[in-house]
Subunit: 255 residues, 2 copies
């Protein structure tokens, strides 16, 4: 049985706790948070604390805390030479205090507090400084049912950046779709099957191959019509820039 | 039994043919295409022709031809006062020759030639000039198993425009994610569950509520890091513009 102490009470920490709770290979023996209030509801199923000096001895300490305090919390841990990992996509593994064995468990998914999380849909990217720590981290990721991938810092950095494009920016395109349709009293709901199909399509096909539409076809007439329709200047700028981007990808000339 | 003559041989026409073939309420009695070659494979299951003057008498004529030739084909139909509809998102219903009863059946989905199409995932937007034509169009859309929605021209126009944002532009963000990850030898595949989750999330939740990430949080440190990482000037411009768009939506100041 691998013993884990979990630190933090955000979405990632909460989903990790629930995930580990279902496995037989990993036991969360203690849950720390700066404010005990947030983890009080779990007091019946796990030892909780708000005092770093009370931390129990464990195989792994998982810092699922905000990026800004990873360095500080790792420094304040009252022990050394234990395996300490964080879960951030954008913080360097070297931000962890060097008195620890250091690593990263980066779950590449968007966590909402409410929704149940199936870890089969959460690839966990593993980074370690010393090779010896890798098998243990892999074991706990696998116990959750996650696909795992060993990566380096540069790869984690680009994955985190790419995640902003495919998740946050994509969601903003949905939002713009919402605004455009509502402006004429059309239902955004009519677009939902198309949104799902677009995401499903590239599960099997490269985004390059999956591209369709006026920009790809260089259909100037439709592009012109669309630009005329758009009243919001920012939406217009986004339309132009992404049309140019598609043209660049598919060897067409700029707008 | 409603009789249909289908015109055109692209993805929409082909999927409509296959869809109608499964219903008991609609019969495609003839399939026309300018070049007979494209529809030859179906010669055993339907009467095919490449001559507009050979067209049979039917309840509805569906012009699933390219936008550019809708007007011309409708003019060349050697009859009048029959129900003639096109399937385009961006062409006016008035582009159909006025000698016909005119309407639009706009299937709001991305059709690929290869994939099977489940019409339950294809909302069909119906537009007619005279009210009497509506029930028949609704009936054939329902026979396919599609959700249907009666809309006007302005609504069809904004739906078509919004579809470009949530389908073509979103797919281009996937492409950029692909380019960014591959630049460091990271696997784009790791992002696929996140892409699917992002699309699934807004099936239940508004894109406004679903937004997360550095732009929404106004996390200047991460945004600065990301901009520094991006080497492609176009990707950088897209990052800045979509970050500003998220900020505008969520009441934050510009970059």
């Amino acid at each position: 049985m691998i013993s884990v102490v979990l630190l933090g009470a955000g979405n990632v920490a909460t989903h990790l706790f629930k995930g580990f709770d279902k496995t037989s290979e990993v036991s969360v023996i203690q849950w720390y948070n700066r404010s005990i209030h947030a983890i009080k509801p779990y007091a019946n199923s796990v030892d909780i604390t708000d005092d770093l000096n009370d931390l129990k001895d464990a195989d792994i300490y998982i810092l699922a805390v905000s990026d800004d305090v990873i360095s500080e919390v790792s420094k304040n841990l009252p022990f050394d030479d234990k395996l300490v990992v964080h879960t951030s996509g954008s913080v360097s593994v070297y931000d962890l205090d060097m008195k620890h064995k250091r690593g990263v468990l980066y779950p590449l998914q968007s966590f909402s507090k409410s929704a149940e999380m199936d870890f089969a849909n959460v690839p966990i990217c593993i980074e370690t400084i010393d090779k010896k720590s890798y098998p243990l981290l892999k074991k706990i990721a696998v116990s959750l049912g996650s696909p795992t991938k060993r990566i380096n810092s540069d790869q984690r950095r680009v994955l985190h950046l790419a995640a902003v494009f495919v998740n946050n920016f994509t969601n903003q395109l949905y939002r713009i779709g919402h605004e455009i349709t509502e402006s004429e009293g059309a239902e955004f709901d009519l677009l939902k099957p198309l949104i799902l199909e677009t995401a499903k399509k590239i599960q099997e096909m490269s985004p390059f191959k999956a591209q369709t539409g006026p920009a790809k076809r260089n259909d100037k007439k439709t592009i012109k019509k669309h630009l005329k329709q758009l009243e919001n200047e920012q939406h217009k700028a986004i339309y132009e820039l992404l049309t140019d981007s598609i043209k660049a990808t598919h060897g067409r000339k700029k707008l």
